[in-house]
């Protein structure tokens, strides 16, 4: 082994704290970077690839058949590069009596799956080319049967006719729930035209394109449209929601690891000044000395990078699994180039940072290095030492408090480490609190007692999309067939009832938007049950409705505007008076008064609040006795169930925060170790003069108190600011507007406790070196040069 190699090896082995700190900091940065980068790529790549392959529609527009002819809809439109259609469309409603989902289906008449736009992919069976045949969407409820494939299944429609599923197809543009031969639709409700535009990368561009289509077609003929950007966001959201906070953690981790590496190497150079002088005296060139210190940082950084890549991959598995379902059998993995970029980038940044710090070693004059050793420059911090000597605190504490001012650069690096740790903790706590508020707002389950509402055991699988939602659910619904009014009367008459309302739920379609929209009708005041508004207000009467951001975006509706719902041929127009936080049915839901949507009589649920002091168990028992003749059962509690996505985000946040805090504490530990070594002789003097081990610990701990306070005091507001920036981005990525309660999660007491958290990081980091200092032999310390 070369002389340089021996120096590097001994440096890495001798400075174990330094080695561990660099390794851990790099692991943290690389883990979060790999995870963030992988999800960033995975969140967009599958949809983009499929959209490009199918030549997806930038705009799917639906026109009223009574106001436009197929010929009028083929008129040239500025900016259009390709179009398909017009295809006749209609809504069919499966019979309640038959098997399967009775939700209405938007079907389009298409003679083949190909074309210049929306070349749908036939995944099973064959294309429908005879009357009575249908190809159903792979994303819809009829694609599968209890025995597996939906092909061959017969669907009985509400008018008594039947259609046979002959194929299953996937349209990335989600242009229809099913496709039939054009001749099958003899009386189309409308026509569908699919467009691709020269410019459609932003909402503004798509809006302009839509306006151009409206201008080129008969007045008021367009009854609805769907932008590809909405679909892209919906497809991406399961992963995209992770990206903003992972990017935040990635940046925090990267900056922190560079800070730690720079500080550690600078500290090693400072503490090893005499050693550097000796190496140079022995014939090492300045470049060799710089290389020696650079390599001492790169060795643990390379190991940390390798561990970080593996950890990033392992952590990506559960997150990527969340979205694999969206793309069928497509298995999502971390893109190899992400690994390459992160590894090369991390090591390059570590190298540059370490080189900047190590270059001082190359510049040191040999004679000065040997002469100066590691004695700090005299004079620094004397005024604070004089000041703290007069403070009414035990002398060891006063001695410790003055320490940071003797080494201001090292103290600044420690402050930065604590600052980043406090920022991470504040951000993480804020994020967890926000997600908790989101969970509460999503569940809106303030009800003490419910009837006919699914519990955690049988609610649909939650994600960022479907939550428990308002109203009852398909499946086990005790009381679904009971007379809702009769149940309500019993509830109202029950002693202890404070308030109650009931919901009923049905499915409707919105013109131009594929899939169904859930309509939840309310009887009674439901505002006490935890519904939170993003903007606007709760509906005040018939004709008014509230809907979540997802629905408003998908339909291009704004608060104050109107939207027309199609309930199996019956047109119901409602005015949207508020953007409500509601995540059921992927946000495609409208909440309105029961008098607005009179046909909504299915899936009835009752929600009851009891008077304060009422024993809920006794109330439920008594209510069930009264309800027995009606055949329904009440039960305590709401329908809340933690979202898998929220659990996953909470878990990742906790883990990444823990890593950042550990790195912060290790950064402090390293600096305190260096400081203790620098002052080992002073420590020996203190002990020789009668300083007890406990006093020694107090002195070392006190040396980081100011650092912890300053780091915490600055880190907490930075964390709050980061939270304020990232949370809306997460909402935007998920395609949801967040209620005010999700933002108002920081109260003064919590902020104070978080600030103390910064202090705690500093103290924890200093604890180990403090113990070492206390155990150091006085005689040895006094002999140390």
């Amino acid at each position: 082994m070369s002389a340089l190699g021996r120096v590097v090896r001994s440096g890495v082995a001798r400075r174990r704290v330094q080695t561990v700190v660099i390794g851990l900091a790099t692991t943290m940065a690389v883990t979060s970077s790999v995870l963030g980068g992988a999800l960033l790529v995975a969140s967009t790549a599958p949809f983009d690839d499929a959209f490009a392959e199918q030549r997806g529609a930038h705009l799917s527009a639906r026109f009223d058949a009574a106001k436009a002819t197929p010929e009028q809809l083929t008129a040239p439109v500025p900016g259009v590069t390709a179009s398909a259609g017009p295809f006749p469309v209609t809504t069919v409603t499966p019979s309640d009596e038959g098997p399967g989902d009775p939700s209405p289906l938007t079907v389009a008449g298409r003679s083949d799956p190909g074309g210049q736009v929306d070349a749908v992919t036939l995944t099973e069976g064959e294309w429908a080319d005879a009357p009575g045949e249908i190809v159903v969407s792979a994303d819809g409820p009829h694609a599968h049967s209890p025995t597996g494939s939906g092909v061959g299944r017969r669907i009985t429609l509400a008018d008594g006719s039947t259609v046979t599923v002959v194929g299953v197809a996937r349209s990335v543009s989600r242009t229809a729930d099913g496709w039939v031969p054009p001749s099958w639709i003899t009386s189309p409700q409308g026509y569908q035209v699919l467009y691709r535009f020269a410019s459609a990368d932003s909402t503004e561009q798509v809006d302009a394109d839509r306006a151009a289509v409206v201008a080129a077609t008969p007045a008021d003929a367009m009854t609805g449209s769907q932008s590809w950007l909405v679909l892209k966001q919906a497809a991406d959201r399961s992963i995209a929601v992770f990206v903003p906070f992972l990017v935040a953690f990635g940046l925090l981790g990267l900056v922190m690891s560079l800070l730690v590496v720079g500080n550690v190497v600078a500290g090693a150079v400072g503490a090893g000044t005499r050693r550097i002088g000796i190496l140079k005296a022995l014939g090492f060139t300045p470049a060799q000395v710089v290389w020696a210190y650079l390599a001492q940082a790169l060795v643990p950084a390379a190991i940390g990078t390798a561990i970080g890549v593996v950890a990033g991959h392992l952590l990506a598995i559960p997150v990527l699994a969340e979205t694999e379902d969206v793309y069928g059998a497509v298995a999502l993995t971390v893109a190899p180039w992400v690994d390459v970029v992160v590894v090369v980038g991390a090591l390059a940044l570590v190298s540059v940072t370490a080189w900047v710090s190590a270059s001082r070693a190359g510049r040191l004059r040999t004679v000065d290095a040997i002469a100066v050793g590691r004695v700090p420059r005299p004079g620094r911090g004397r005024w604070t030492a004089r000041l703290t000597a007069r403070l009414p605190v035990p002398r060891p504490v006063g001695l410790g408090l003055a320490r940071p001012f003797a080494r201001p650069a090292r103290a600044a690096a420690m402050v930065a480490a604590v600052l980043f740790g406090a920022t991470a903790v504040t951000f993480a706590v804020g994020l967890a609190s926000s997600l908790n508020q989101v969970q509460i707002a999503r569940d809106h389950d303030s009800a003490d007692v419910t009837i006919g509402v699914d519990g955690p055991g049988n609610a649909p699988a939650p994600g960022p999309g479907p939550g428990p939602g308002p109203g009852a659910r398909p499946g086990a619904r005790p009381g679904a067939d009971a007379d809702p009014a009769a149940v309500a009367e019993v509830v109202a008459a029950q002693p202890g009832t404070l308030a109650h309302y009931r919901t009923s739920r049905t499915q409707a379609t919105v013109s131009g938007v594929a899939g169904t929209t859930a309509v939840v009708s309310f009887t009674g005041d439901a505002t006490w049950d935890g519904y939170e508004m993003v903007s606007g207000r709760w509906f005040a009467g018939p004709g008014e409705a509230v809907a979540p951001t997802s629905f408003l975006k998908a339909t291009g509706t704004e608060v104050g505007g109107t939207v027309t719902l199609d309930d199996g041929g019956k047109q119901v127009t409602v005015r949207i008076v508020g953007d409500v936080f509601e995540m059921s049915n992927d946000g495609m839901v409208v909440l309105t008064d029961a008098a607005t949507f009179t046909s909504a009589t299915r899936e009835v649920g009752h929600h009851i609040a009891v008077r304060p002091g009422t024993d809920v168990t006794a109330y439920v028992d008594s209510l069930n006795a009264a309800l027995k003749p009606l055949g329904v059962t009440a039960r305590a509690g709401g329908s809340g169930q933690a979202s898998d996505t929220i659990i996953l985000i909470d878990g990742l946040t906790a883990m990444l925060t823990l890593m950042l805090v550990a790195v912060a504490a290790m950064g402090v530990l390293n600096a305190v170790v260096l400081d203790t070594r620098d002052r080992i002789r002073d420590l020996g003097v203190h002990k020789a003069l009668g300083m007890t081990p406990r006093q020694t610990v107090a002195m070392v701990i006190a040396s980081v108190l100011v650092i912890g306070v300053v780091g915490g005091a600055v880190g907490v507001p930075v964390g709050v600011a980061l939270h304020a920036a990232v949370l809306p981005a997460m909402g935007e990525s998920a395609g949801i507007g967040l209620p005010a309660s999700a933002f108002a999660v920081h109260d003064p007491v919590k902020l104070l406790l978080l600030g103390i958290g910064g202090l705690l990081i500093a103290v924890v980091g200093a604890l180990l070196p403090a113990t070492w200092a206390a155990k150091t032999s006085t005689a040895t310390a006094l002999r140390t040069e």
């Binding site: 911090g381 000597a389 203190h686 020789a688 009668g690 300083m691 007890t692 006093q695």
Partner: protein, 230 residues
């Protein structure tokens, strides 16, 4: 006959696999005595000093100082023992550079929990007595070697120790300063301060002590009374 301040009985101490630094040393120093421990490098002088100061523990034997069995003390008890019974003066002064002279001197009292006013008053008295009061607010780096050692002595006397241990107190001083410190130690002993000086400077031993203990290879090779040179 005065009571013994230091009693070492059959004390041995070794390090690693080398020869013992001290071997079967038995030594008694009585109150008011001034004893010089002489010997070449590696003879065990520093080990003896460390054992008396409670900085190290013997492998065998007992060390009793001012009635306290030092060899069995834990770290905290050992520190408290040093505060109460020992004043230490080092070759290179070991003053804390970032504290003023006054703050250096007052430090042992503060560690012992003495009231702030009382400690300051005693420190001022000591600095005045040792002739360095004018430097009270200065930092040690601005003082001469002799002045620094006077400050170190003042610090060592702060808690009125039963025993003053001096490790090569003139080793880092020029001749004039060395004589000055030697005179100071003599004066302190004359006032009743028990004194143990570790040195290889025979002149210092003769000038400020009345008994010399010679250590050779960890054993006491001689223990003789000496006449002061002045």
């Amino acid at each position: 006959m005065t009571t013994p301040v230091i009693e070492l009985r059959d004390v041995s101490r070794g390090y690693d696999d080398g020869p013992p630094a001290l071997s079967d040393v038995t030594l008694t120093v009585r109150a008011g005595e001034a004893v010089a421990v002489l010997g070449p490098s590696g003879s065990g002088k520093s080990t003896l000093l460390n054992l008396i100061a409670g900085l190290d523990r013997p492998d065998t034997g007992t060390v009793t100082v001012a009635g306290v069995r030092v060899d069995g003390l834990g770290e905290a008890a050992s520190a408290r023992y040093r505060r109460a019974a020992i004043g230490m003066v080092f070759q290179f002064f070991n003053l804390l550079d970032d504290l003023t002279v006054a703050d250096n001197v007052v430090l042992p009292a503060q560690l012992a929990g003495m009231a702030r006013g009382e400690a300051a008053k005693r420190a001022a008295e000591l600095l005045d007595r040792l002739g360095v009061a004018r430097h009270a607010r200065a930092y040690p780096g601005r003082l001469s070697g002799g002045e620094r050692q006077r400050v170190a002595v003042a610090r060592a006397l702060m808690n009125k120790p039963a025993l003053l241990l001096a490790d090569e107190p003139t080793g880092a001083l020029d001749t004039a300063s060395g004589e000055d410190v030697s005179a100071l130690l003599t004066e302190l002993n004359a006032e009743g301060q028990t004194l143990v000086v570790v040195t290889h400077d025979l002149a210092l031993a003769r000038s400020c002590t009345r008994r010399t203990v010679h250590l050779v290879d960890g054993r006491i090779a001689g223990d003789v009374a000496v006449e002061p040179t002045r």
